[in-house]
């Protein structure tokens, strides 16, 4: 299996870089060689200097790609670098190193004017719906501003604003002249979505778009996102710490821990058969009504409490300090991404066996994930996760 992937990889890199067998290439087995890849992120590194000469390694070599029309979920604990990843894809701020390719064009390598133009195809919505809107401007102006930046006629602008507002379920007549503070969080998030869509982007990066909302409103916004995805043929990157939400909106899910990708797999596969110990612990920490809450919630805590500081991440595998299966090898050698199933990649020296997962699932909510069909109940799952 691994050989087959390496071959594929070789074909891809053959044109641009050295021999396929080199370790550099095998680091990115999870990148696919397909024509319809819209966005491809390779070796993304984001570091921030903090006082005293130390550096925060927020993102350390993350690689993934997204196909046209796909939704990639990006999950992890807070502070693992998932939001930073989202923002550095937008070049806000520019990543320290690594490339972000939109249809093969490296955004980071462009002169700033060209980059601004290319970036129109990428838009973003944020966690805090109220902070996302300028309190001093009218809704119509907020949504028309991207169009104004790119120069369209006032009439076309007005029509487009009305059309987009209607698409997100707001009445243009009623909302156009109001200001953000007159709306609820959910309505503000709809306005943010309208602003992101008004330039007709190809990729929408959703940075925890529902985390700040009421549970009932969460489901509405998720449904709206699904609908907008259809209507505008969007490709989405959906960043969230809420596994239930990610599960039902994503086609594929990537799990991040301390600035690195642990595992990437189709959503159903990942939730049913996580192979990375971190993914498995994360899944079992979803609170569930039908189990003793303390057992599952305590599992991540027992496995080592807090996440280590991204200022001085552990050597080798970054999860080893909390991992139940850590060995000496994990401290010395950084695990590389390798394929363990169809489209399922994991960066672990000792991945969970499938049977093992099923066994441990009996005590955790993994079991629940296993028998719930993803298309079965969009709303209930979304409501349950909180």
């Amino acid at each position: 299996m691994t050989d087959l992937v390496k071959d594929e990889r070789q074909n891809k890199t053959g044109a641009s870089s050295g021999p396929g067998g080199d370790p550099g290439a095998s680091r990115h087995v999870q990148l696919r060689d397909a024509d319809d890849v819209v966005l491809s992120v390779e070796d993304l590194v984001v570091e921030f200097g903090v006082g005293g000469g130390s550096t925060v390694h927020a993102v350390s070599g993350v690689s993934f790609d997204v196909r046209r029309g796909e939704t990639l979920g990006l999950v992890g604990e807070s502070g693992c670098g998932k939001s930073t990843t989202g923002r550095s894809i937008m070049q806000l701020p520019k990543p320290t190193s690594g490339s972000v390719r939109l249809h093969g064009d490296n955004l980071g390598g462009m002169p700033s004017g060209q980059m601004r133009r290319a970036r129109r195809k990428l838009q973003m919505i944020f966690q805090d719906p109220i902070s996302s809107l300028n309190p001093r401007r009218r809704i119509a102006d907020i949504i028309a501003e991207p169009l104004r930046v790119w120069g369209s006629s006032p009439d076309a602008r007005k029509a487009k604003v009305a059309e987009t507002l209607e698409a997100v379920g707001l009445d243009p007549q009623l909302v156009a002249d109001r200001r953000p503070h007159q709306f609820s969080g959910g309505q503000c998030q709809r306005i943010s979505i309208a602003r992101a869509l008004v330039l007709e982007p190809e990729v929408l990066i959703c940075d925890e778009p529902v985390s700040a909302l009421d549970v009932s409103v969460q489901a509405q916004i998720l449904n709206l996102l699904e609908e907008m995805k259809e209507r505008y043929q969007l490709t989405m990157i959906f960043i969230s710490h809420d596994l239930a939400v990610v599960r039902n909106i994503s086609d594929r899910v990537a799990v991040m821990y301390l600035g690195k990708l642990c595992e990437i797999a189709p959503a159903v596969e990942l939730f049913d058969r996580p192979r990375h110990h971190y993914s498995s612990l994360l899944l079992s920490s979803i609170p569930s009504a039908d189990q003793d809450a303390t057992t599952s919630a305590a599992r991540l805590d027992r496995s080592g409490g807090e996440m280590p500081s991204p200022v001085s991440p552990p050597s080798g595998c970054r999860f080893r300090t909390r991992c139940p299966a850590a060995t000496e090898r994990c401290a010395v050698e950084e695990p590389l991404m390798r394929q363990v199933g169809d489209g399922h990649f994991v960066a672990c020296h000792h991945p969970l066996e499938v049977a093992e997962v099923v066994a441990s699932g009996a005590e955790g909510s993994v079991e629940r994930s296993a028998d719930g069909t993803p298309d079965g109940a969009l709303r209930p799952v979304a409501l349950e996760g909180v």
């Binding site: 937008m90 601004r116 300028n134 309190p135 501003e145 209607e166 698409a167 379920g169 992101a196 009932s216």
Partner: protein, 314 residues
């Protein structure tokens, strides 16, 4: 209130959450008028009473100052020897000063000078300081470090000494006093504008503006500046009062606007020799200055709070 608003949303989005029933949306959008919910009736009334009282006084002072030349007043510089240190009378409603000039007329003309000094110094300081502060906060890096160092240096310098030195060098004139006061206020405005800018730049609508391709200048002018203007203006309003008092102090020291132009400070100063025998000569302008500054502070503080409340609602 936030909770109440969230629940309002539910009826809007029914079924699969598709493009929603727009008719259902109308009532609750109309319900979200914040003004109806901001405060209970009693608090609003007391707010309005004090507010209108202070506003009324300020309107009276500003109106009288503006209309001084056409009001039926005595010439402020011409003595009427029947009115030397005169008490309140029909022809001189507020009496006269030590050489018989009409107190009411001098108060109103004095308001012109005092308000002109206060307002122009604040406008000058707020515009220069505000712009520099926004630039410091928005651009950051070396620009910010240089500006902050200059700010700290100016703040460490005793203001009164600087003003006295300026008057000694350039002579006492209204321009010198206005510029001197403005220079003294610039550092504070820089700090305020910079701090506000730093907060605003962190907000996600600024990131969103960058994401849809707005150039840095556009982001600054469209997204940052409108959000910095209000806090700076509210603070500036309060500074008007401070400057009116500052001009009074300078005049009291004999360094203010030179005679014969009346100002409140010089009127208080002129009456201090007669304080034991005819205290009204000093006390009337002092009281007027007191009430005016109090009103300015009150209105400024209320305005500031009002916008703060709105921001916290956001």
């Amino acid at each position: 209130m936030a909770e109440a608003r969230e629940t309002l949303e539910e009826p809007i989005l029914t079924g699969n959450g598709g493009p929603t029933d727009l008719a259902a949306m109308e009532p609750d959008l109309l319900d979200v008028e914040p003004d109806q919910t901001v405060a209970s009736g009693r608090r609003r009334r007391s707010f309005q009473f004090g507010w209108w009282l202070a506003c009324g006084w300020l309107i009276l002072v500003v109106g009288a100052a503006l209309l001084a030349p056409i009001l039926p007043l005595w010439e402020p510089g011409t003595p009427d020897y029947t009115n030397v240190a005169g008490g309140l009378s029909a022809s001189h409603p507020l009496g006269g000063d030590a050489i018989g000039r009409d107190n009411l007329s001098r108060l109103i003309y004095g308001a012109r000078a005092s308000l002109l000094v206060g307002l122009s110094a604040v406008v000058l300081g707020a515009v220069i300081g505000g712009l520099l502060g926004i630039i410091a906060g928005y651009v950051g890096g070396k620009v910010e470090r240089v500006l902050l160092t200059l700010t700290d240096a100016t703040l460490a310098f005793p203001g009164l000494v600087l003003l006295i030195a300026a008057v000694a060098v350039f002579g006492a004139s209204m321009t010198v006093i206005i510029v001197g006061l403005a220079v003294l206020s610039i550092p504070t405005f820089i700090r305020l504008a910079r701090a506000t800018t730093l907060v605003i730049v962190q907000r996600e609508f600024v990131t969103a503006a960058r994401a849809y391709g707005a150039r840095p200048m556009r982001v600054m002018l469209r997204e940052v500046v409108p959000n910095v203007v209000l806090p700076v203006a509210a603070y500036g309003f309060i500074m008007v009062g401070v400057f009116i008092v500052a001009e009074g102090s300078l005049s009291f020291l004999g360094l203010g606007i030179p005679p014969p132009t009346p100002s409140w400070g010089s009127m208080i100063a002129a009456g201090r020799t007669e304080l034991l025998t005819h205290p009204q000569i000093s006390l009337i302008p002092a009281a007027v200055m007191f009430v005016t500054v109090l009103s300015i502070n009150y209105v400024g503080e209320r305005t500031r709070k009002r916008f703060e409340v709105k921001d916290s609602n956001l």
